[in-house]
């Protein structure tokens, strides 16, 4: 669950990126965050990850009140969240398998669990045959699926994705969002930032539109795919 209460963010440069945002995303929700460039979408994501702190107001993520959360406890928060970036951020010197397994090693998971869990999520994103490949040997869509597997592997309560389809072929974007939808159906909350209106219109769901640091509208619309 993600909750914003009167949240404002002013960067040290003086830019007001967010202005008294109130927002609640319940467990199991799937929400698109849309809006023009510079509206404050990435700022919202950074708040959830506690990469930055709110200038005022309260942010609550998966039961953590981020204002009160100590630096030392930030890893505990992040272990409940899976992140997907626009630029994939895979480690080029590691294979697909290692890129995913790496997350579990970082959180000190048992070796036996790693050996069973990693192939499972790689299979889930349809990359079993590429497990031993390196990121440079994969297409953009495939790389983003690896990133998705990495976000999933720790079985997080929430996945946040900042323009996950921004760097890949529009046709492949549907595949990625389709995967996210599938993950959401298994109970994971998903917050996805995107610029692609076609994608939003096609899948439908909750749309949060941010403009100049404020929420312009926040509504649920029906997707065109469901009408077919």
């Amino acid at each position: 669950m993600v909750e914003f209460k009167d949240v404002s963010v002013t960067y040290s440069s003086g830019v007001d990126a967010l202005n008294k945002i109130n927002l609640k995303i319940n467990d199991g929700d799937f929400a698109f965050v849309v809006g023009p460039s510079g509206a404050g979408k990435s700022t919202l994501i950074k708040l959830v990850l506690k990469e930055i702190d709110a200038t005022s107001g309260e942010v609550i993520v998966n039961g953590f009140n981020l204002r009160k959360l100590r630096r030392r406890k930030v890893p505990a928060l992040r272990r409940t969240i899976g992140v997907v970036f626009q630029d994939f951020r895979l480690i080029p010197t590691m294979t697909v398998y290692e890129n995913v397994a790496f997350v579990l090693r970082v959180i000190d998971a048992p070796a036996k669990y790693i050996r069973s869990r990693v192939p499972y999520v790689i299979n889930l994103v349809g990359l079993s045959s590429k497990a031993k490949s390196y990121p440079t040997e994969l297409s953009g869509g495939e790389q983003q699926r690896v990133a998705l597997a990495r976000a999933l592997v720790n079985d997080p309560q929430l996945i946040i994705a900042d323009e996950p389809t921004g760097n890949i072929d529009p046709a492949l974007s549907y595949e990625i969002v389709g995967l996210l939808k599938g993950i959401n159906e298994c109970g994971t909350t998903i917050l996805m930032v995107t610029h692609e209106h076609d994608l939003v219109r096609y899948f439908g769901g909750r749309i949060i539109n941010i403009n100049s640091g404020s929420i312009a509208f926040d509504e649920v619309i029906g997707g065109t795919n469901e009408n077919q």
Partner: protein, 301 residues
């Protein structure tokens, strides 16, 4: 933390050394040379100190007793001087004994010459050693004021020189140690900086998936420590080799030293444990501390 995680982190540390092998090798060399210089200057200082200490222990104050003192007066004087806090040992040296030993050292011609001296013109003396050589001058001035003391003679000039040699030596070796430790820390922290930079993407991702800072740091820590320990091992080997060479020159070829009454050098067997421990601790510590300087600021994500 699980055994598998520890294995993983140690493995990552060694992998870091290999991936970064040019920098690792450079810092290994610089640490080796630095440790060696520190080690040699300390060993040198240690041995010079020992030699000077030997000379100092043998430097005596000679107290000349006024002519014509009775035995009781001499005893009383001995007690008085012996009671001074800085006086370590005091020994009476009679004029007869002094005469004997003087004659013994003479050549035959000199003996001939002295045969004509009708009287023992040498005085009765005390020979005393002091606890603290730095206060020797004060002590002799004190003794000078006591009744029945004719005069005192002490090797104050020599001891002054020895004292200042010791002081300068202490300052120089201290300065060398401090300077080289700083150089090592800078070098190691730069090596790690390169290593951290090479892996900044990885670190960034680790932060996002909830890695604790300690988990990110440990491989770099291990990397620095291993390089430090390797440099320490190298320095130890070279020191042992060089020291044995110097030691054998001083001990086998120049008996002169012992003739002069100077202490021998320490043998490396006596120094092996302290030197090994010092090198290992210094190497590991410098390696580990150096890395933590440079990892700190990369962890803020």
């Amino acid at each position: 933390m699980k055994i598998s995680s520890i294995r993983y982190l140690v493995h990552q540390g060694f992998k870091g050394i290999w991936k970064n092998r040019m920098m690792s090798f450079a810092s290994f060399c610089i640490m080796l040379v630095s440790l060696l210089m520190v080690g040699i200057s300390l060993l040198l200082a240690l041995n010079i100190n020992r030699i000077i200490g030997g000379i100092e222990d043998k430097s005596e104050v000679v107290v000349q007793i006024k002519d014509g003192c009775t035995e009781e007066q001499i005893d009383e004087l001995k007690n008085k001087i012996g009671a001074l806090p800085n006086v370590s040992t005091i020994e009476f040296y009679s004029k007869e004994k002094a005469w004997e030993s003087m004659v013994k050292d003479m050549s035959d011609e000199e003996k001939e010459l002295f045969h004509y001296a009708d009287d023992n013109f040498l005085p009765d003396t005390f020979r005393l050693t002091v606890h603290d050589i730095k206060q020797m001058t004060q002590t002799t001035t004190q003794i000078d004021t006591i009744d029945n003391v004719e005069s005192t003679r002490s090797p104050t000039e020599l001891t002054d020189v020895l004292i200042s040699i010791r002081r300068v030596l202490g300052i120089i070796s201290g300065a060398i140690v401090v300077a080289l430790i700083i150089v090592c820390l800078i070098i190691i922290s730069n090596t790690t900086r390169a290593s951290v930079f090479a892996r900044r993407k990885e670190i960034n991702i680790m932060k996002y998936v909830g890695a604790k800072n300690s988990f990110i740091r440990i491989p770099f820590f291990i990397e620095g420590m291993v390089v430090g320990l390797l440099a320490a091992a190298g320095a130890l080997g070279l020191t042992m080799f060089a020291y044995d060479g110097v030691y054998s020159i001083f001990n086998d070829d120049f008996k002169l030293w012992s003739v002069l009454g100077v202490n021998n050098l320490y043998s490396f067997d006596d120094l092996f444990m302290p030197v090994t421990i010092a090198y290992a601790v210094a190497g590991a510590l410098i390696g580990a501390v150096g890395t933590s300087f440079s990892t700190g600021k990369h962890l803020k994500v």
